[in-house]
Amino acid sequence: MLKQMEGSHAVAEAIALCRPEVICAYPITPQTHIVEGVGELVKSGALENCEFINVESEFAALSVAIGASAAGARAYTATASQGLLFMAEAVYNAAGLGLPIVMTLGNRAIGAPINIWNDHSDAMSMRDAGWMQLFAENNQEAVDLHIIAFRLAEELSMPVMVCVDGFILTHAFERVDIPEQAQVDAFLPPYDPVQVLDPDNPASIGAMVGPEAFTEVRFLAHYKQRQALRLIPALSDDFAKIFGRASGGLLRAYRTEDAETIVVAMGSVVGTIKDVVDELRDEGQKIGVVTLVSYRPFPVEALRDILKTAKHVVVVEKSISVGLGGPLADNTDGVLRNLENRPRLHSAIAGLGGRPITRASLKRLFHDAAHAPWEGPFFLDLNERVVGREIHRVRKVRRSGSTAENILRQLALASHLPQE
């Protein structure tokens, strides 16, 4: 059914359609409306046969989900940013135990400085935890990916994190097609766990494993994610048959055939990038964009197939591995590594802590990639004047104080100074 609704509430309705049995809720901006939404559905009786548990922290939220999942219940939780870090130990644990928990991540920056706005630092912090990570481009895809996520998680017995850009998607009102219950039931069978806590058939789960077996355990986790590289497109085909629209998959290419410049990006920014691609195509530039839906598993072969004929690859990402550069650029570099005619890679860090990524800036960036290439990560729309003044000041003053506060002071000062 088509509805005009907030992204978070659309996700909440999608979760309810997946018939979760245990939901653990802890509020954190910008994910809060999702757990509020499912909470309302449970309290009103619209979502039956579901325990909604208000926990005291994100660490407990995922821990409750771990217990519920190990005991055979379909479990769901949602978090963002600091919340994901606070549950980090349980994030690894859920993956290690092979529990098919689905979690929404309302992507948000990580402090300090504390910042509630969108970027992908939180998802990147857990990219090696063993969870599959799917990124939604818009709210329709956010809805669809959650339905796919439960099936994917349960088929592989491995948790899935659905990444939905905070505010940009979670708080945006868009037209969304909410599926019918019968469609979801046809796509997603009831949870039939591989291993379960059962007094009639007692097993010990979560034992200690030493050097004699740890490598093999990790190898098999990696093997499972490699299996997901085949399963994710298959589930996407299945989804299309039942729901009548394409959604999910490993990645999507937009106007990349014959493209000399190909942009790689994840999440909601792709919408803006597509507009810029259209504009530049109209101006005669051969450019396209690849949307990565699946960040873990990372679709190395599929991405290489698309990028191998390009001259320039521009990675636009909302995260920074401090001291290295962009993690997505680094991963993409790995994809290109062994190509004979490898395209030149350009890395751009954009939209940190919620900074808008404008069409004008992207257009300049893509133009420069082809005509004035740069080394290392480029920080889109960096206020170089403020940064320069702060670097200069820190050089002169030994006890120079906190960077965040000083940058804010520089900004305030700069607003009173004439432009250089």
């Binding site: 660490f59 821990s63 771990i66 005991a71 479990a75 130990e89 135990l97 007692p202 010990s204 034992a207």
Partner: protein, 339 residues
């Protein structure tokens, strides 16, 4: 004290005059302990890797066997990281005869909440026990524990209190008594051992949550421990039992003194044994034959610095004052006491 809250097991006096022998032979079949029964589940079966004389292994078997008896074996256990987890499950071996899940050090209470929620939603009657040492309970797991308490989730949490982080090599926990030497409170300097005026007694904090049932117990009183576990399994909601379990390694005592030390901890008043329901203390186990705390301390190397050169350190008297305060607070002297 309301006598009606006492179970038959607790009312019976099993010991003969002048001894501490508990004779099953003397009582009717139905009054015998769970451990005395050939039908006991042996939840924590032999072959595990605990040290000789481990109080925790003993306490866990007593407690889980009793809980399995009370639930007709329809029970799931969740375990915090710690000695109990490590010595029972060096995979592919496991000592557990019931479904058992270990997740992390600090989340056993929350994981148990999840298991209980799954049972409820699936319409199963299966009950849940969470267990951990004092480190996993009073320190790193405390937030999850308090959350489970205040939500009144249907979980019995059992803390095996050996008064320190024994698994990592005997460091201080918030349950380590004052003056005790640990690897992080060495017997050095002007105030050797653990500092007075620190630490917390979680059973009282559990009582403050107003949960249906809280008890302390000791491996020195098997029948009382079993009675409390069985009583707890008859109650729905959050329940907490903290069992004093001596650790020969961490306390610096011979393996054969585990039960003796557990008994002395009770008889000197340092470890009060009581029950509480819905925020109120309902009864305490009386001290049978009061002993000075010195008798308890002097058997343990962790207090050796209090008895150097044949002179008692003044801190012994400070510990005695703590015992005296417990005796008054919990009413530990009464009918059972011998002159």
């Amino acid at each position: 004290m309301d006598d009606s809250t006492l179970t038959q097991q607790q009312k019976l006096k099993y010991y003969q005059k002048g001894t501490f022998t508990v004779g099953n032979r003397l009582v009717a079949d139905e009054e015998r302990s769970v451990q005395a029964s050939a039908e006991r589940s042996n939840a924590l079966t032999s072959g595990h890797r605990a040290c000789q004389g481990c109080g925790e292994a003993l306490g866990a078997r007593y407690a889980i066997d009793a809980a399995m008896r009370a639930t007709g074996n329809d029970l799931i256990a969740v375990n915090a990281t710690g000695c109990l987890e490590v010595f029972t499950t060096p995979y592919p071996e496991t000592s557990w005869q019931l479904p058992w899940l270990h997740s992390l050090f600090g989340n056993a209470a929350a994981v148990a909440t999840g298991v209980a929620a799954a049972m409820r939603v699936k319409g199963k009657k299966t009950r849940v026990v969470a267990q951990g040492g004092d480190g996993g309970t009073t320190d790193i797991g405390f937030q999850c524990l308090s959350g489970m308490f205040e939500r009144n989730d249907d979980v019995l949490y059992i803390c095996y209190d050996n008064e320190g982080y024994m698994n990592t090599g005997v460091q201080r926990s918030s349950a380590t008594p004052p003056a005790a030497r640990t690897a992080t409170t060495p017997a050095l300097g002007p105030e050797p051992g653990n500092v007075f005026g620190t630490g917390k007694f979680v059973p009282k904090i559990a009582v403050a949550h107003g949960i249906p049932y809280v008890a302390t117990a000791t491996v020195a009183d098997l029948r009382d421990l079993e009675a409390k576990v069985i009583k707890a399994m008859g109650i729905t909601g959050a329940r907490y039992i903290q069992i004093n379990v001596p650790c020969p390694l961490g306390w610096g005592a011979p393996s054969y003194d585990t039960i003796k030390l557990a008994r002395l901890a009770v008889e000197c008043g340092l470890y009060p044994i009581f029950e509480a329901e819905h925020g109120r203390i309902t009864q305490s186990r009386k001290i049978r034959r009061q002993v000075p705390v010195r008798d308890y301390l002097i058997l343990q190397k962790r207090y050796a610095h209090l008895f150097r050169n044949g002179v008692d350190d003044p801190r012994v008297q400070r510990l005695q004052a703590i015992c005296d305060a417990h005796i008054e607070e919990y009413g530990l002297l009464g009918d059972d006491a011998e002159a």
